[in-house]
């Protein structure tokens, strides 16, 4: 079974970077990709991420996401092409009767916007994925605490990450149990949505049933009035120096492409 968003143990360069540094990098990359609408810069960010994955031997994890990313990109491009009417008309769908206004169809502006949006999502998803699979959840927590996030929220995130594989497993079990009753996953979008009920209801109900024990366990371990979480001190190493340089390079590229070239 492939676990979604789970830490993969290892000793790669990405693993050894301090979580705080890594978190800064992710925030920077995600922040800049939202601000930038230049395709070369977005491609540069994707290049940086691919390089990071190659360098750490995690390229297979990124490749496994490609079908999903392509599908997402396809939908985004279709959506924006049909909704954003800007720039030259590339493919008219409804020709205009009035020569002074352009007809309805796929426009240059819509297409470009779709591509930019897709690239942004690819950057964000890949960056987040690389971050989560190379960061031990406890280090992730330490990183978040270093940003002064309240313990309660950090604990919430930690528990959410912890239970993703359990939920996956439970969903599979429920799916099999319903198949035994002749369950038909349904066809078409409305069929798919309607057929969610036999899976989602047991999944949610069973998860809710677990919360009581979870809460009591936290209490019994003395988390009620806890200000600290039991995690390690952070150490900065050579990987963090390299990351600092990388941060400067990315910022430099952003500034150059957006201000000096423009």
């Amino acid at each position: 079974m492939s676990e979604i968003l789970q830490y993969i143990p290892g000793n790669s360069p990405l693993h050894t970077i301090n979580p705080v540094t890594k978190l800064l990098l992710v925030i920077l990359i995600v922040g800049l990709c939202v601000m930038s609408s230049q395709i070369p810069f977005l491609c540069f960010l994707i290049g940086v991420l691919i390089f990071g994955a190659l360098f750490s031997g995690l390229i297979r994890e990124i490749i496994s996401q490609i079908p999903f990313l392509l599908l997402l990109s396809f939908f985004l491009v279709v959506l924006t092409s049909l909704t954003v009417q800007e720039g030259a008309l590339l493919l008219p769908i409804l020709p205009s009767t009035d020569p002074s206004i352009q007809g309805f169809g796929i426009t240059m502006g819509g297409l470009m916007f779709g591509i930019i949006l897709s690239l942004r999502f690819i950057v964000m998803i890949t960056a987040f994925q690389l971050f989560v699979i190379t960061t031990k959840p406890s280090d992730l927590v330490t990183g978040l605490l270093a940003f002064r996030l309240p313990v309660d929220y950090v604990l919430m995130l930690l528990i959410a990450l912890r239970f993703i594989p359990s939920l996956q497993l439970e969903a599979r079990r429920i799916h099999e149990a319903q198949l035994c009753r002749g369950y038909n996953p349904g066809t078409g979008i409305s069929g798919k949505i309607r057929s969610m009920k036999p899976i989602m209801i047991p999944l949610v109900a069973n998860s809710l049933a677990k919360t009581q024990v979870l809460g009591l366990t936290l209490d019994m371990r003395g988390y009620r009035a806890r200000k600290k979480l039991p995690f390690h001190k952070l150490v900065f190493g050579p990987g963090d120096m390299i990351s600092a340089i990388l941060i400067l390079i990315i910022l430099g590229a952003f500034l150059y492409l957006h201000f000096f070239m423009a």
């Binding site: 676990e3 789970q6 830490y7 143990p9 031990k136 959840p137 406890s138 930690l158 528990i159 990450l161 912890r162 594989p165 359990s166 497993l169 439970e170 079990r173 429920i174 099999e176 149990a177 319903q178 198949l179 035994c180 009753r181 002749g182 369950y183 038909n184 009920k197 036999p198 209801i201 047991p202 109900a205 069973n206 049933a209 677990k210 919360t211 024990v213 979870l214 009591l216 366990t217 936290l218 209490d219 019994m220 371990r221 003395g222 988390y223 009620r224 009035a225 806890r226 600290k228 979480l229 039991p230 995690f231």
Partner: protein
């Protein structure tokens, strides 16, 4: 250590008291086993002794309860009580909060111990004691049921409290995993800990438990030493397939219903099934026995297409189960899963059964629903919300849902997990009735007692292979 006098308790939403007039006294270093049928108040008593009821749940109390000579109500909540009492709940998975075994154990320690070396030493000692040192870095999802349970126990032990309460820690474990946990309890007792444990399977505690308390309907019905209460052996702790009473299986002259030949199944690099060949005949009541992870469930999932083999043949009647669509196979082979809650989703018992019937397009569903409900003893509950039923009733409803689709073969995966003896026997009686009506029953279990008492044929599995196939002449189905 613990003293309760005329303790009674009613849950905030309850109408009847969950605990009635409990008087007991548990001394330091005692190991007390609590047993009794489902809904007898065992878990509630555990919660009471841990102070959870008084400080977390609310509800109505009467009587007196003191821990270490001090009334429970005087403690400043669970936050203070957790220095003296730790508790292991029955659901191991939801007690593992952190993402590695080591962090799980460290989680309770930081407020108790200042020195880092001491924390590490404590974690190391507890891992050694529970035999989980090799699992140190594992995330919870990569642990087996028995391992999870040992980690949950270790997390409680790491806190080094005087009193340890365990609520059914062995309910989903096989014989080997259970005896490992009892070994851990023994060494804790030697360290002078006070241990209170709830369990259904009893024999393992002979010569371990100092005292046994039997609960019924919220009060203590019997109390004494193990030998006083249970002079005879309670079920078997040894592997049944080493029993000399079993005779090797010889095929009957009835027509074959399931034919499996050289079945192979791999999960990654693990050989889950390694060349299984077996034929099952019409009207048999077969128990497939084996430890956790021996491949029992994997095997039966091949009979209705939930799993497809990596090699070998599977035939169910005339259908080729390696290729036939699941929707056709499930009408021949009904599989009831271990936990009924994985399938119950509808708003009423009637709708729950109707779901399967509509999926296969059955005619006159109302008549079928009435029929199967009376068969499983749930008549009159058509409009009840399924999740409001008791665990035993939910299990029987799950059987009814499958039964309604009229499969010839009925497969039960661990049908007695979470059921007490009364409910387990009731489930087995139902299977005997169905067998008499001509159904073929296949039951996957690690419960030796029910296999021995009911099944006509016992197949033993180990590491993905069949290691024995016997007639069980003592079984009521033979």
């Amino acid at each position: 250590m613990i003293r309760a006098t005329s303790l009674s308790y009613t849950y905030p939403v309850g109408t009847r008291p969950a605990l009635r007039d409990i008087t007991l006294s548990i001394g330091a270093g005692e190991l007390v086993l609590i047993t009794g049928p489902t809904a007898a108040g065992k878990t509630t008593l555990c919660y009471a002794l841990a102070g959870i009821l008084q400080h977390e749940f609310g509800g109505t109390f009467s009587g007196y309860l003191a821990l270490r000579g001090r009334p429970v109500t005087e403690y400043a909540g669970v936050g203070e009580l957790n220095r003296y009492v730790s508790m292991v709940f029955d659901d191991a998975d939801s007690q593992l909060i952190f993402t590695s075994v080591e962090e799980e154990l460290a989680s309770g320690l930081e407020t108790r111990i200042d020195s880092k070396q001491e924390i590490e030493k404590r974690i190391f000692d507890v891992m050694e004691l529970c035999g989980i040192t090799h699992l140190r870095e594992r995330p919870p999802y990569a642990l087996s049921g028995g391992q999870k349970q040992r980690v949950a126990i270790a997390a409680a032990l790491a806190m080094d409290t005087d009193i340890i309460i365990l609520d059914e820690p062995t309910s989903e474990l096989d014989v080997a995993a259970t005896s490992r946990i009892i070994e851990i309890l023994k060494s804790l007792k030697e360290q002078g800990k006070t241990i209170i444990i709830v369990d259904h399977s009893l024999e393992g505690y002979r010569n371990v438990a100092d005292r046994v308390i039997v609960m019924e309907e919220g009060h203590i019905s019997r109390e004494g030493t193990f030998d006083e209460l249970f002079p005879e052996q309670q079920g078997s702790m040894k592997a049944l397939y080493t029993d000399p009473d079993l005779t090797p299986y010889t095929p009957t002259d009835r027509p074959a219903i399931v034919r499996i030949d050289s079945l192979m199944k791999r999960y990654g690099t693990i050989e889950a099934l390694n060349g299984i060949s077996v034929t099952l005949y019409e009207g048999e009541f077969v128990a497939i026995l084996g430890e956790n992870g021996s491949g029992k469930t994997t095997l039966v999932k091949h009979l209705n297409g939930l799993l497809r083999p990596d090699g070998g043949l599977v035939h169910v009647r005339t259908l080729d189960a390696t290729t036939a669509p699941v929707i056709d196979l499930v009408q021949q082979t009904g599989l009831v899963f271990q936990n009924p809650d994985t399938m119950l989703f509808a708003d009423s018992v009637r709708e729950e059964i109707l779901f399967g019937l509509e999926n296969i397009g059955a005619s006159s569903p109302d008549q079928v629903i009435e029929e199967v409900l009376s068969m499983v003893g749930l008549s009159g509950l058509e409009s009840t919300y399924p999740r409001h039923l008791s665990r035993g009733e939910r299990q029987r409803l799950a059987v009814a849902c499958i039964l309604a689709m009229k499969p010839e073969i009925i497969i039960l995966d661990e049908p007695t997990t979470g059921l007490d003896e009364l409910e387990s026997d009731r489930m087995m009686e139902l299977m005997l009735t169905l067998q008499k009506k001509g159904h073929t029953i296949i039951m996957v279990t690690h419960n030796m007692r029910i296999a021995e008492e009911y099944a006509g044929r016992i197949i033993a599995m180990e590491n993905g292979r069949i290691i024995g196939d016997y007639h069980n002449l003592k079984g009521r189905a033979s």
